[in-house]
Symmetry: C2
Subunit: 363 residues, 2 copies
DNA sequence: GCAATGTTTATAAACATTGAT
DNA sequence: GAATCAATGTTTATAAACATT
């Protein structure tokens, strides 16, 4: 920590909502490895994405290859291409197309390919033998509900076979994004959106009962399942209306799904300093942050709690104290280090709607 | 840091040589994002892998699917299957086979598939149309040598088209490994070793002149290219001899490609304490570690240097001092915290061959 | 301006310890 | 009281953004 002078309250750092792991690991143990993991990430933070390279290349539209194979930029995922493969295409053609595409961009090029089986010729992932697309139909709430209170029942009837996210390994580079924008690949975007939705469902498809060997991780652990899907759904619905101007607007998205510009350390200080005695239990810290920054309640992966704990342990400024009776342990801020930061010192809370702040009047 | 009592010298932690990112990010900027990234990882650390679940399943041998597709456990990489696909197989069969295999193991199953094109029927990746396997032939040192001093010239004539590492995304889980053991899939292991070599080469295949758009990251930055290939080559050659007993033996592999069980913090202490004045420049710390732990010279990703710097900054025990003339900055160990650890306190260095230790007698 | 060095934050993970059934 | 399991706490690793030299 080093107690360097003038640490910024508002994080400037934090670029990239980083692409994160792929196959990753561990079961559904604790907050980490949340079921949300490994989905193509992106986290919906459109802001913070549009900075660097103009890169005049823009060679990212639809591209046709032998055997009816088409490769299109993924409409939202950076560095990703969707490869539509006719069912009658031979493996050799597939490999050649991928190879060609891979060579074309070299190290700078996209490094993920998602293979989908297009019907027989072109239109891609529409009606294909092995699946049925329920697409927009309402959740129906069947499938082993009664689990948690509302653990997104709409993710269940998956469309298994046809869509598989393959991750293709180009050597390196990624700063040099291929600038996947809404403009390119516009023509197929609706179809692809469907596919993508499915793919992402599939990505976070838990044990839908289709796997015999999975008999343990479905309990409830820490898996609140960061309801991101619901957001996704609303997102899609909203996107169907304006399409153009609502890119990185400032309405609902911002207040709920946008990550606050404060570091964990700052937020913990906000939380603790918001109390009378300047001390707070871990659980209350969680709650305070969720109440004041909906991002963590709704869209952040469960691992954010791990990060909170990590910060509490790591930084010397946070010291753990035990209540008089020795029952409860509180986190406090070392007096020498406490700048008495509070949220409203750095942010006048307009009037979002979360001002009630059930501070849990710590015992 | 907290100066907790009795910090272990030998790391017990460090399980998983973690599967890491997939698409990851950034260009070849500094040590991070090394070109080695995203290759199937695994890092060769077989030890530390064989702990948990006995898992009586053992359904991991060779398996045949329609259209001549075969799926075999990867002989060394855990959680990975090699899918041998005849060139005449249709995409539908491929997807079905993968789907079936995926379902079979469910969430617990392997989450990576490597697709290779087998000749036309079975024997897998042997003689295939688009490539030629030099296999054991000596490096020959042709191809654009005169680069660095010896930047693995043998990696060049790659076998491009036929082998592609695809990463297949099973939803979650990984703790429940499929227990990939040397025993299963024994029959094909030699063939697969060849394939694997190529695949991994391809995985870190840099810009071999085949990509037009890559015109900048090839400079020299920090990209020493973690010569893992050379190791791999020797590996293959060595594997051709014993095959059975040399599985996770203790000979060459261990001393070079196996990660030492010491934390960065410990290694930095070893380095600094190995000097007279108990101080060392960053660069010399790098060098000392590389000299004493070949892993970091040869197989670690370039990001390890980032980690070194991170540790130096993070831990209060490491304090930076400036030489008398104010020119050079040395890293020292805070006296209160210095347990005077040295490498030979914890490890009698048999007689590996790296004892000369050009300590760079810091100016 | 660039590369090396240094600092800080974020995330994931392994594992230990404590608390509650 | 032991066995389990969940919550909490600590530490290491890695990647990244950014600052400073
Ligand atoms: Mg602390
Ligand atoms: Mg330090």
């Amino acid at each position: 920590m080093r107690t360097s002078p003038r640490r910024p309250l508002i994080l400037k750092r934090r670029k990239l909502t980083l692409p994160q792991k792929d196959a990753s690991s561990t079961s559904a143990r604790d907050e980490n490895s949340g079921q949300d993991d490994k989905t193509p990430k992106q986290e919906h933070s459109q802001e913070e994405q549009h900075n660097s390279q103009p890169r005049g290349k823009m060679d990212c539209g639809l591209q046709k290859f032998p055997a009816g194979i088409k490769i299109i930029d993924h409409p939202t995922m950076p560095n990703t291409q969707v490869v539509a493969i006719p069912t009658n295409a031979d493996i050799q053609s597939i490999i050649e197309a991928l190879t060609a595409k891979g060579k074309e961009c070299g190290n700078n090029g996209p490094n993920k390919f998602i293979l989908i089986s297009s019907g027989g010729t072109s239109r891609s992932a529409g009606p294909t033998p092995l699946q049925h697309l329920p697409s927009e139909k309402k959740p129906s709430a069947a499938t082993k509900a009664a689990d948690g209170q509302e653990r997104d029942k709409n993710v269940r009837q998956t469309h298994v076979c046809n869509l598989y996210p393959f991750f293709f390994f180009c050597p390196d580079r990624q700063t040099e994004r291929c600038e996947v924008s809404q403009s390119s690949g516009e023509t197929m975007s609706s179809v692809l959106d469907n596919s993508l939705t499915n793919i992402q469902w599939l990505g976070k498809m838990r044990s839908d009962g289709l796997s015999p060997c999975s008999v343990k991780q479905d309990t409830e652990k820490e898996n609140q399942m960061p309801l991101q899907e619901r957001i996704k759904v609303k997102d899609a619905a909203a996107a169907a209306i304006p399409t153009a101007a609502a890119a990185s607007s400032s309405s609902w998205q911002d207040s709920v799904s946008e990550r606050p510009p404060y570091s964990y350390m700052a937020m913990i200080q906000f939380a603790i300093n918001s109390t009378e005695k300047k001390r707070m239990t871990l659980k209350d810290i969680y709650t305070w942050i969720e109440d004041h920054f909906p991002y963590f309640k709704h869209v952040a992966k469960p691992g954010w709690k791990n990060s909170i704990r990590h910060n509490l342990s790591l930084h010397d400024m946070f010291v753990r104290e035990t209540s008089a009776n020795g029952k409860i342990s509180f986190w406090t801020i070392h007096p020498d280090a406490n700048r008495c930061l509070t949220l409203d010192q750095v942010f006048k809370p307009l009037d979002l709607g979360s001002p009630t702040s059930p501070e849990h009047s710590e015992s």
